[in-house]
Each structure stands twice: as C-alpha cells, then as structure tokens.
Point group: C2
Chain length 200, copies 2
DNA sequence: ACCTGAACACCGTTCAAGT
DNA sequence: ACCTGAACACCGTTCAAGT
C-alpha cells in the first residue's frame, strides 16, 4: 500500500493532517487502536514519516488534546464568578463533544499545551480579580479543572448502562452546573473571610 | 537469568506474589515500566509463566486495583450521611497510601472487582436508607466515586511543583472533607423535597 | 525538507512441549 | 498443574539512505 511512492516523493503530509487523522483513528478504533503505525497506515504513508512533522507519540497525543481546547470559548465578562462559570461550562461542553478524548485528559490530568496555558491564565486572572492569588489560586484552579474533567468523564463514560441512560444529557449538564456553583461559592468565599483556605 | 530452571521445575509462583511484585515494579518503574515481562524478569521467571496464574495484563491491573480497595474500612454506622462520609474518607486515605495507582483508577474510572462491588453495594444501601434509589442512587454513587478519585489525583499528582508543596497533606485532606460534605448535602437533600434530582 | 526501507529493542500472548 | 523455549503479531523509534 505504500509502494506507490519511492523515497523522496512528497506525500503532502501536514502536522494538522496527522492530528486530524489521529482523531479519526481514535474515534473509530479506540485508545488501544491509536498507534503511530495505524495513523500512518490510514494516511498511506510509512510509519516513520510522521516523525518529520511530530516529535513522537506522546507529544502527538498532547497536541491532540490541546488542539481541542482551542474550541473553548473565552469568558465574556471579567466578573470572577460569572467568568469562571462560563469558561468551565464551555470546557465541559467541548469535552462532551469529544467523548473519546476524555479518558486521555483524565490520565494526563489536563493538558500543558498552549491553549491550556491560555485558559489557565484566564482562570488565574479571574481568581486574582476575586482577591485569590498564589498557591491558593493554583489549587482552586486545579480543583475546577479536575472537577470539570471528572464530571465529563462521568457523563460520557459507561453510558451503555441501561439505568444511567435514563438520565438525559440535559439533567447531567444541570447537575454539573449545580456542583460548579457550589465549588465557586466555596472558592470565592475564601477571599471574604479569615477562615483557613478551603478552596473546595 | 532464567536458565537455572529447566521446563517442568516449579518456581513457586503465586497469584499474590505476582500482584505484590507488580506493585513493586509500578512504584519503582512507573506505569510505563509495568509490563508482563518486567514483572516476570523481577520474579526470575519466563514471561509466559505468569499466564498460569493471571488471565492477562488487563485483569492483572484490575486485580491490582481491586486488591488495594480491600484496605478500605467499612462504615461503622448505618446513618446515611455519616456512613457515606466514612466510606469515602477511608477510600480517599487508601488512595493516598498508593499514589502510583491513582492514575490507573482514573483511567479506568474505578474498579469492577469484588472489593469495589462490595463497597458499591454498601454505598447503595446507605443511599437507600436515605430514600434514594434507582438511577438517582447510581448517579449519586458515581459522583462520589469520581469526586474521591479525582481529589486523590489532585492531591498526589504534580506535587513536584514548588508552590503546591506549600499546601500540606492535611490542608488538602480538610478540603476533601469540606467538598465531600457539600456533595452529601446536595445528594441527601434530593430525598426531602420535590425539586428535580440534582445529585451534585 | 520530506519520505522510504530496514532494523532495533521492545511489547502481550499463544503454542507445543517438558516434568 | 506449572514452567520453559520459540514464535507470532504487533509496538515506538532511529538510522542511513534517496530525491
């Protein structure tokens, strides 16, 4: 299948094409089916060709996860509570749109890419505007991220169960919002009193 | 290293010995270092010998995770709120005692083994005593499990960061308890009013 | 710069033995 | 029943080419 092209012939590979293909393979074959070789096979290319555009499998997956975070909408307000609610809700919705990726986010506890950093700084800015900074802010951010990914995993995972399918997407989304508001309440309360920080 | 034993010579392998060895390999080599072959090597045995005692790698990891859940203490009361708080707190403490396993629990969203089932039924009994049953109970249980594993992941993960190390284990544990109480409050409130179930 | 063939050092797992 | 050697069908990655 790869013999149609001699060494030196261009295949028109692109970092974006590889990422898109990896996403297709993931949705069709699952996590275990996502390999360098399966991606290369689907692109009609030798396995090692990918290394001209991607450092390796780990960074490919990292890039995959971070690319999707580009879909997250930035908050339309600088008011801390509303802004944090908007950005986390948007993240939750994006994750639901890519159920195959959720387990990967879980395993890596988020992403370290450019989009993740951008969103993370927006979160820190919002927390700072609420008077929360330093290690407390970092912890609050991690709580919100873990909560969001965890809830997304709960929503997307094991929906094959007959009983849980009775709970509609809408009900789960409402539950997410309710819990999120509780978290925000607790986090933002730390800036208004003298109690030891209990950011969850 | 395996030539000291001819085919047919017993090596005294045990399912428990394999599990214990796998845990040692995991803590020393990390997740990527945990392979059938590395476990066998450490036991001074051929790789395929393990298959006389374990079905395969997936079930080995499953067994590994479920075994640890045997350390979780059963609640000392049948009062729903207190009982659920006890069982989740004990689970959280057990997970902190085995930081290497936490990412694996995350990826598999818990465990399906005997200990997990036993704990899961205790949780359902406690919820039932609070008047919560059916799909609402299953969702509440999943919320509590995801929250606990997620928080354990947050506590154990990325503690190499200088800023976060300022937050002591005790502070994080207190945060876990605070958030847990919020969840329990919300979950148990669903049995006392007519509002649509918002189990988080 | 981009792609190839070939190879290396691994995997998990199976199969046909041996005692 | 328990363990072995050998093998199969894979991995990710590297290296020396070719254009």
């Amino acid at each position: 299948m790869g013999d149609t092209r001699a060494p030196g012939q261009r295949a028109g590979l692109t970092r974006d094409a590889i990422l898109r293909c990896a996403r297709d393979v993931l949705s069709e074959q699952g996590i275990d089916g996502l390999t360098m070789r399966s991606v290369a096979r689907r692109l009609g290319v030798a396995p090692n060709s990918l290394y001209s555009h991607v450092a390796g499998k780990d960074t490919l997956v990292d890039d995959l996860l971070d690319d999707v975070l580009g879909e997250v909408a930035e908050p339309r307000t600088t008011e801390p509570a509303a802004g944090l609610r908007q950005i986390m809700t948007s993240t939750y919705e994006v994750l639901l749109r890519h159920p195959d990726l959720v387990p990967l986010y879980l395993a890596r506890q988020g992403s370290r890419g450019g989009n993740a950093q951008r969103l993370g700084e927006i979160m820190l800015d919002l927390l700072d505007a609420a008077g929360i900074a330093g290690p407390e802010a970092q912890e609050a951010r991690r709580v919100l991220i873990v909560y969001t990914i965890g809830f997304a995993a709960m929503t997307t995972g094991s929906t094959s169960d007959a009983a849980t399918s009775l709970l509609s997407r809408d009900v789960l989304a409402a539950n997410f919002t309710t819990g999120l508001d509780w978290l925000l309440e607790g986090i933002l309360a730390t800036s208004d009193n003298q109690l030891p920080p209990h950011s969850l």
